[in-house]
Structures are given as structure tokens and as C-alpha cells.
Subunit: 234 residues, 2 copies
Amino acid sequence: MNRPPEAARELRRAYLFADMADEHLAALVQGLHDIHLNAGDTLFRHSQPAERFFFLRDGMVKLFRLSPEGDEKIIEIMQPGQTFAEAVMFMGTQGRYPVSAEAVSESRLYAIDQKAFLNLLRESHEASFGLLASLSRRLHMLVNQIESLTLQNATYRLVAYLLEQIPRDVKTSPEVQLTTPKGVIASRLAIQPETLSRILAKLRQRGLIEVHGNHITVRNVQALRDLVHLPPQD
Amino acid sequence: MNRPPEAARELRRAYLFADMADEHLAALVQGLHDIHLNAGDTLFRHSQPAERFFFLRDGMVKLFRLSPEGDEKIIEIMQPGQTFAEAVMFMGTQGRYPVSAEAVSESRLYAIDQKAFLNLLRESHEASFGLLASLSRRLHMLVNQIESLTLQNATYRLVAYLLEQIPRDVKTSPEVQLTTPKGVIASRLAIQPETLSRILAKLRQRGLIEVHGNHITVRNVQALRDLVHLPPQD
DNA sequence: CCACGGCATTGACCTTGGTCAAGCGGCCCT
DNA sequence: AGGGCCGCTTGACCAAGGTCAATGCCGTGG
């Protein structure tokens, strides 16, 4: 598998590879496998033995768990440039995926062999540190998610989600383009699609946002910010 | 600070230190700080700058988040032999604790300086791998917690908790000694103390358990297991 | 020995968000 | 163009668990 140096540049977008020495990254690139998924395709399933982890080149992939009754909770929606399932490597021999993964839209990925990567970790401290940083960030994100699931209500979670979609520097009345179907967002926020709809309707009635399909205009950013930081009110 | 070799043996209980080379561990031991906490004492607070992480020698420490209204959600209850707050080291310069920590009962800990440990990581691959394994385990635990918070009801969570307290090999009618006040367990499971009480009462009425203060006799393990694996029912 | 304070239990009531069902609009596909 | 499907919305109803309040139960300290 002979690859252009573009692949290395592409991988550097991920924190995991950002600081890795060129020669290590080059070696890694030789072992990459291309994966192409159509929307709805499954990448792996919860509790399958894990032998590879992934870098998302483009498209969108959801990581989720299913209840025995078939209800779905999306843990994370992966964006291009991110790696996932790296942690499983360290769950002892025969690590198993703790979640399922499925393409939300057509996606291209690189698969990275765990054994090869473990060997690389033994030689490269930058790689180890990159991985530690990745895991720490994900850990922190999960703790925040637990907090908002347990200490905050559905409106709070949705508003927080909307605010996250607004780039830092925007000062003008911001536009939010929802990048996934609303049902996916609902599952990510652990609410039903009906509830999502109702909350948006209520925010609209209060004049805080305008909804046009999957495009949302935020009319009053400050009011939304207040909703999230001050005592939540109906 | 001159320490007996006991300290090294003590630290090896934690996965993080289990495989570390003797000389590295010995160096680490020289930099330990002793900490003593009475029940209710605070170790650190959410969003404080983090310069150390911790090994719990004995006692019990809760990691939790507070809502603006003062409601508490316990993320994890640390047990003797475990390390915590190691991940913060990698959240870039000026990492901040993502949770608060407070002693549930009188506790003794070792504090480990992050800078010193980072230096050690640069020399010891075992240390890096130990840390990666620790973080992976915690990551997995958090994912499981999110699943049970979002896809399962309060009864399921409590029953799962009770079953976790029963050692693997017990075949006889098992005894569970609750090691913390029920209010603490409730917060860990993200339910109110009243609800915990009611669920225990219902399980009692169904003849599945007997409750004597903080001591619980499980009368029908299999029925509890079924509750957790089959469709949850009232 | 009694009084107090903290934890736990129980009851009555309420709120949030889930469930079920109907309707609507766009999009694709023939 | 028509039909069917899918995603979304809206309404009516429901239930799990939260809230508030009263009471009981110890264990501790004066």
C-alpha cells in the first residue's frame, strides 16, 4: 500500500498525531486501510473484539449504545479529523468496543491496526502523549455529559448544544446550520424527537430563535446564555 | 522525605503503578506528600488549577459535580488502592479539575506532583502504558454510566449497583454491606434519597431482598439478575 | 437520661418528559 | 403526476420520579 504524503498531512489534523515525528507517522501511513461507508452502514458493534481504531476523513459517524428494547443513545458524533476507538487498545487482551459505530452520512475513514500502533507507542513518546491527551479530552467530555444529563433538564441541554454550534468569535445574530437530522441530535441529548420539537417551538415562541427546517437563527444569544448559566426556568 | 519501601508496595495496588520499574517507583515515592482528611473535608474543587493527582490509601473519597442550584451528582466513589485525577495532567497547560473531591469518611492519601510524574512518563514506557490503561478503564466506566443513566430506569440502576457489590464467586444467598450512607449511593445513581428508599421497599415487598439498616440480604439473586438483563418492569 | 441533629422512611401531590396517534410536507422513484 | 415514505410537528394522555412535609429512628453529647 503506497500512499502519497497527503495522508500524513491529513492525519496531523487529529490531536493524536499532531506532534508525532515524521518518520513514525510515515510508517503508520503505510499500514492504513481505506474504508468507505454509505449512510446507515455499520462500522462496528458494541462488544465486538476490537483490532483497529479509526480516523474519520470526511462524513459523519455516530457512536452509540442500544438498550435491550432497541432505544438508542448517541454518545458522540465524530467529525472529520477526529480519531475514535483508540482507548480499546488498553483494555487488556481482547479489548471489545464499548459502543457501536455507524455512518450518519457517507464517510471515508482510515483504519489503523492496533498492534502496529502499540509498537509505535513503545518507540514514540510523542505518540503516547498524544494518545493520553486524546483520552483525557474525551474523559472530560464524558464527565460534562454526565453532569448535564443528571443535573440539567432537556431545555438546558438543547440550548447548550445550540450555543456549542456557534463559533466563538461571532458577535452578530448567529446562524446555526444543523449538520444532522434532528432525530440524531435528540438521541445525542438523550431526549425524544417530539420533545426536541416542542422545546424548539417554545424557544421560538419566546422570540429567542427562528427555525427554518434545519437552519436556526439565534435572535437573542444573551438570553440563551442566561438560560444555561442561571437557574433553569420554564 | 524518607520513606519506607512499604509505600512502593502500597502504590503497586493501583493499576497505574502495577508494572512500573522498581527504580522509577522508588523515585516517585520520594516525592509523595501525605494527606489526611476527615469525613466531609474537601480535597479539591471543580475548575481549580490542578497540580497534583492522588492515590487513596484508605478511607473513601467522592468525586462529584454540583449544579448551580447546589444539587450534587457523584461521578465516582474512590476506593483504597485507586488513583484519581491523573487525566488532568494532559489537558494542556493549566489543567483544571473537572470534578470536586471530598472525603466521605476519614481518609489518608498520597499526593503526587504532576510535573514530577510527567518527567517520569518520559522515561518509562510502563508508566505511560499504566496510565493509558487507567484512563481507558475510566472511560469505559463513564460510557457505561451514561448508558444506564439514559437507557435504564432507577430500579435498574439500583439493582445493577447491588449486584456489583456482590463478589463474583458468591453462590449462597449474598449479603451486601452498604459502605456509604444511602444518600451517597442515591447521588451516585442520580436519584433522590426518597426514591432509593421506595425502590428498596418495593424490592423488599417482592421478596427479593431484606433490608436491615445498611445491611442488605439478597434473597433471590437470579430474580435481580433477570431484572437487569430483561425488559425492566415495575 | 434526655434532647438534639442527621439520616431514613412514608405519604400526597406535582412536573417533566415520554408515549401514542394523527397530520403535514418534501422527496424520491417509477 | 401520483404514491409512498420519511422526518418532523402537534395534541392528548400517562407515568416515573421529584418535591415537600411529617414522622420515626438512632447515636452522640451535655
